[in-house]
């Protein structure tokens, strides 16, 4: 860990910003429509691109006729793959190739010989206006020779399944084994075993702002600027450099305001490369803005795991062993971190339970669908759903109360740091405490009694809970690189104090609505004992922040927040040394508080202000021996391990017997993300995560038919939650600081999406299990629930 000297015993400030719901400085611009999103940027001479996409899930491209498109009004160029060599438009790199994979199938931004999913880009039309580009795109005529397609990951592994990639003998990209111990002997000796098949369907982040990419290549300097909504400008810069052969120091990537991301804007996409290569060729700026239909078909979704789960337990319900076989759908190619997500998901399959034996096989499988990638939770929602559903099945089968069964199996607080049977180390936790709080908030025993009475009246009601833990703040770097993770785990902050004492923080993360400008300013202002308005936070532009790792895995506070705090401590250490020099006392005798350095306890001592010290550092003419001018420091924090947020979600539901519709009557979420920087933002993240989790549980599915035609291409077929779908969320927190970073924060961006889907589905299963329904897969639409009830009553 990089660490500045701890200079002051007392806190540097009497105005504590950390732990306080400071209003977000981002809000004014968004409330007034003055926030600049990517599509709001117009460059002079800008052209517009429209992408022609595959209409078939799997086909050879016989020919592409572009002449008719070229002569349409306003058209400047039409490009296909044949127009670019590998040096101008190479394959798109991934960020995670597991060492056991037989390479990564080449993914060209514009398809070459074959198309492998509906929506894959085959040509691009560039015109003077967007309308002209869209009109002309209809005149591009692609002739295909159709091939059989496969969309289901499990079916794709069967003998005789259509092959997605000719160069491989099977669609299985890898089978990764996790776990220790002997399942068979544990199962043979067990008093109770359960076996459940679960489908964690494909879902889509579907941020309200779709993707936009604007490339501007400057002749002469050879500098390419790319504006896009992304969670990580630096990975885009690196991968774009590899794909188009412009060195990284001549690429500038800018992400202005981002209208939601949730993991879907984390990798380099084909269109980013296409507009970049086209701009270089045409020497004019080009904007491409995705339609919602393109977003649903081309932008990566998440989940899509089929899992066979077994548990073996003793008489008391103590779980002895876990066995899982997972078929994870990678899609047609490997996108960004897509290959690694199923594996890290497996690493938290045991959840919050002390299970000694695990036997897990994860099959990563290619299909003729769009790629899967990080989506809010990326592996942990799948894991929490898997174990929490299975534990409820075990409780039902063994006849043990599900709350009691969970208590008997919890990892206990004294066991942390705890290494589970699938190789993950949890940093800290206190599950009983969170459980007790959640049960108290919902009034569990009263709800159980009410439920019995309601059932006696013939109503279909259920109570469900989930207890989860997860992992955030990617680290450690060594372990992750062993499994082929090709992103960094560190985060950096640079702090500059100007001559007038104002503070600029450059931080290597990129917000998409999380309020980082506010939270990072809270941390730095607190560390430096300054007014929060003296601190400005910059992010999202590689010319402003030269290096960084980006926003994902709920890492922004644990990694970037920590690096900002450490950089601030370095600044304060240097400023204190300089203040001592100015006051002619020993550094240890200087007391700093609220922007004032004193030669002894305030208010008696002589004083210099932070600003006066900043001036002196800037002038640089009378510095202590060996001190360089200026107050400017960098801190890089590489987390020694993941953090492990955890929590308990409880839902009470009622099902309409006539329609099968599920109504959530009560929803309690108790989440522990360690220390909180801004409680209002923390709760907001839980709200948003729970909404998306309820969406997955009840409504959302990104589906294809058997031929690989997408069936969810608008908000009509993909019903994201509306305001009236939301139950009242009752939120609570426990605070168990993380030991792996000095702020004690764990991360909260994804927790809501992890705890919610199992809680809701467990509640529905609780409502229908006694009526004879033994399994349901998400989304629990009215039609699905109603049909299951009908079949069970036959």
């Amino acid at each position: 860990m990089t660490s500045g000297a701890q200079v002051a015993q007392e806190p540097a400030t009497s105005t504590e910003y950390v732990g306080v719901s400071v209003p977000r400085r981002e809000d004014f611009r968004f409330l007034t429509g003055t926030g600049t999103f990517s599509e709001d940027i117009t460059l002079s001479g800008m052209l517009y691109a429209s992408v022609v996409r595959s209409t078939l899930a799997h086909a050879d491209i016989v020919s592409i006729a572009t002449d008719a498109a070229r002569i349409q009004p306003g058209v400047v160029a039409v490009f296909t793959a044949a127009d670019f060599g590998d040096d101008e438009m190479g394959t798109i790199p991934t960020d995670w190739e597991l060492p056991i994979m037989d390479g990564i199938p080449a993914r060209y931004p514009l398809a070459r010989e074959t198309v492998k999913y509906v929506g894959e880009a085959v040509a691009v039309v560039v015109a003077e206006t967007r309308v002209q580009a869209d009109d002309a795109a209809y005149f591009v005529d692609v002739e295909y020779a159709e091939r059989p397609a496969v969309v289901d990951a499990e079916l794709a592994t069967r003998d005789g399944a259509p092959l997605v990639h000719d160069q491989y003998e099977r669609n299985t990209s890898y089978v990764w084994h996790l776990g220790t111990g002997d399942w068979d002997s544990m199962a043979a000796a067990a008093d109770h075993t359960v076996d459940v098949r679960l489908v964690n369907q494909r879902v889509h982040a579907s941020s309200l702002e779709a993707r936009v990419s604007i490339a501007d290549y400057q002749v002469g300097t050879g500098i390419l600027t790319l504006y896009l909504g992304t969670q990580n400008v630096h990975v885009v810069r690196r991968n774009l450099s590899i794909a188009i052969g412009i060195p990284e120091n001549r690429i500038r990537v800018v992400t202005p305001a981002v209208g939601g991301a949730f993991g879907s804007k984390l990798c380099l996409y084909p269109e980013d490369v296409i507009v970049s290569a086209a701009s270089r060729r045409l020497r004019r700026p080009i904007r491409w803005a995705e339609t919602r239909a393109e977003h649903f078909t081309g932008t990566s979704g998440g989940r899509d795991h089929i899992e066979q789960v077994s548990l073996a337990a003793d008489k008391e319900g103590k779980i002895q062993a876990l066995k899982v076989t997972t078929y994870a759908n990678l899609g047609a190619y490997v996108s960004g971190m897509g290959a690694g997500i199923p594996v890290v998901s497996g690493m938290v399959y045991p959840g919050v339970y002390d299970i000694p034996v695990a036997d897990v096989d994860i099959h990563g499988v290619y299909t003729n669908t769009s790629t899967t990638e990080t989506y809010r939770g990326a592996g942990r929602p799948e894991a929490a759903y898997l174990i929490e559903r299975a534990v409820d099945e075990l409780a039902a089968k063994a006849g043990i109360d599900r709350v009691e069964l969970r208590r008997r199996n919890f990892i206990q607080p004294h066991q942390f740091p705890y290494s589970n049977a699938t190789g993950m180390t949890y940093d800290s936790g206190d599950y009983e405490k969170a459980l007790d709080k959640a049960l108290e908030m919902i009034g569990w025993d009263d709800r159980v009694a009410e439920q019995a009475a309601a059932r006696a009246e013939g109503r279909i009601v259920g109570l469900g809970l989930s207890v989860y833990t997860e992992f955030c703040g990617f680290g450690d770097s060594f372990q992750l690189q062993l499994v082929g993770f090709d992103r960094a785990t560190w985060e950096q902050s640079v702090i500059t104090v100007t001559r007038t004492g104002s503070v600029i923080v450059q931080v290597g993360i990129d917000a998409a609505g999380q309020g980082h400008e506010t939270s990072i300013a809270q941390i730095v202002a607190t560390e430096l004992g300054l007014d929060i308005d003296d601190v400005e936070v910059l992010q999202g532009d590689t010319d402003v922040v030269h290096f960084g790792t980006g926003t994902f895995n709920s890492r922004s506070m644990s990694s970037a927040g920590t690096s900002a705090a450490l950089a601030a401590r370095k600044i304060l250490a240097k400023a204190t040394r300089l203040a001592a020099h100015m006051l002619d006392v020993e550094t240890d005798d200087v007391v700093y508080r609220d922007g004032v350095f004193s030669s002894g306890p305030q208010p008696e001592g002589r004083q210099v202000t932070f600003e006066e010290v900043a001036v002196e550092a800037w002038r640089g003419v009378d510095l202590p021996e060996g001190m360089e001018p200026t107050l400017k420091e960098i801190a890089v924090f590489d987390p020694p391990n993941f953090t492990s947020p955890f929590g308990v979600h409880v839902a009470a539901v009622e099902i309409d017997p006539d329609t099968g519709a599920v109504r959530i009557d009560r929803y309690v979420a108790v989440d522990d993300c360690g220390n909180q920087i801004n409680p209002q933002i923390v709760t907001g993240q839980i709200h948003g995560g729970v909404a998306q989790g309820i969406g997955q549980a009840l409504y959302e599915e990104l589906a294809w038919d058997e031929e690989g035609q997408p069936m969810s291409t608008s908000f009509m077929q993909y019903p994201v939650l509306r305001a009236h779908h939301m139950p009242r969320l009752e939120t609570g927190h426990t605070v168990t600081p993380s030991p792996v970073n000095p702020l004690g924060v764990k991360g909260v961006g994804e927790s809501g999406a992890i705890g919610s889907q199992p809680a809701v589905v467990n509640a529905v299963m609780d409502a229908v299990r006694h009526l004879g329904v033994d399994n349901l897969d998400m989304p629990l639409t009215p039609a699905k629930v109603w049909t299951a009830l009908q079949e069970a009553s036959r």
């Binding site: 004014f28 409330l31 309200l208 999380q514 209002q680 709200h687 939301m726």
Partner: protein
């Protein structure tokens, strides 16, 4: 589309129409393509980019503006249709001074009713209409009033709370 354009095969884009209307209190006279949607006109031709586009199917409400004082989805209105009418966009919604927020905007900020902010202009425009009443609104009324506006970030609760509280307060939002 007229029969003429079908017969000649000329794209409808070639048809231009002159319109005059009031935009955020100022008169505007210009020519627009017959098929240009109001949202594209505002964003591309009037440079008012606070009105957003979130979908292709009139589902999301990110594009909401006021037409003669009523909230409409500007992706569902042709620019030619606003001839002679009055259009108000988020850029005209402010408090007393240019740096002040309108009470609806203030309420959303204080309740943390926005995260990425992409839905926010549309939410504000819809909320202004919803709050144009003497009644204190119930959470259910607000939830149903926002049925045409998608927010993928907040889970809506803070937005609903902000508007319910504002409707019950003395200023009552927009009145």
């Amino acid at each position: 589309m007229t029969h003429d354009t079908i017969r000649t095969g000329r794209p409808a884009a070639a048809q231009r129409s002159a319109i005059s209307y009031t935009l955020n209190g100022e008169p505007v006279s210009c020519e627009v393509d017959a098929r240009t949607l109001l949202v594209h006109h505002l964003r591309e031709e009037r440079n008012l980019t606070g009105t957003h586009i979130g979908c292709d199917t009139s589902q999301c409400g990110a594009c909401a503006v006021h037409l003669d004082g009523r909230a409409v989805k500007s992706c569902t209105v042709l620019a030619v249709q606003v001839d002679g009418r009055e259009v108000t966009t988020i850029e005209a919604v402010r408090g007393q001074g240019p740096d002040d927020l309108h009470p609806v905007q203030e309420a959303l900020q204080s309740k943390h009713g926005l995260q990425c902010g992409f839905c926010t202009p549309g939410m504000v425009m819809t909320a202004l209409e919803l709050l144009d009443t003497d009644q204190a609104l119930t959470p259910e009324q607000v939830q149903h009033g926002l049925v045409g506006n998608i927010c993928r970030c907040t889970g809506y609760q803070n937005i609903v709370d902000a508007l319910v509280e504002l409707s019950a307060s003395e200023s009552g939002g927009t009145r």
